[in-house]
Symmetry: C2
Amino acid sequence: MGRWEPNPRGRLLQAAFELYGERGFEETTVAEIAERAGLTERTFFRHFADKREVLFAGVDSLTELIVTTVADAPAGLAPIDVAARAIEAAGAVIEEGGDLPRRRHAIVAASAELHERELIKLESLASALAAELRRRGVGEPDASLSAQTALAVFRIAFDRWVHDEDGRDLPQLIRESLGSLKALAAAG
Amino acid sequence: MGRWEPNPRGRLLQAAFELYGERGFEETTVAEIAERAGLTERTFFRHFADKREVLFAGVDSLTELIVTTVADAPAGLAPIDVAARAIEAAGAVIEEGGDLPRRRHAIVAASAELHERELIKLESLASALAAELRRRGVGEPDASLSAQTALAVFRIAFDRWVHDEDGRDLPQLIRESLGSLKALAAAG
């Protein structure tokens, strides 16, 4: 395949995930990823800073989507529901990714370094979400509480989705988990 | 001071926090900590695995306290309130630490490596809390949701406590933040 083929970014992602799954993250080089994708290393570095970023580029996109969704949410919606709407939008995008997010999850879970990186990225995501809620006029600690709680709901729903054998979709699991959280809070 | 002086662990903690605050974590050696405490390096290593662990030994103790508090909570208490009771107990211990927890926080916040380590430790804390809730018969996702939510409440209350100028105590701030969370969940 030549470098003029369409969707180089998607092919690099696909190639990287395959290789990380086959050999492990540590054992895979950028040269091997580029080769598998039929592209050059130079093309790789036009799309990703390094081989780790291939796994986290999606989190940055999701953070952007979450912030935009919060900015566009109707006025008067309760903060927790604004945050929930944002993580549901993120869930819908992940759901469209089919098998890829599950494979990514397995790769990240297998490496302490990648798991730490994931936690840092999720922390940034929660901060960005809280900042956008404050921009809507939500005060503190409500903005941070809504953001952190939404992130907890998201992570728990995602975990269920990864292991779910009933084939429920991620936005549905997010709605269910949010419902569980509201019931827990009301029972306390 | 000789090595027979009382409370070597407390003195090592005190000395380490002083040095980390004065010179930074990276620039401080175990030899310097031991010297400042009037103890030997050998004594240091009887109490802590390395200079990083001086900062995280407390988190391990708090995790134990949280697990014990959950185990001892009365039957029939709502899961979110069991979790809240556990983080309040942790908050009371931190409150007793006076200025030390605030200094520790400043040291950890100043280093990317220490901040990552903190996130991993808090993740373990949430897992231990969820596991203990399951042992009480709380199902999933409720156990994980209660644990993650309680951790979010704790972190937000702690952050307010670190920056609080009104001198409110940490257990009080934890109760307030939990109240805010319940109000947010009920409004959504």
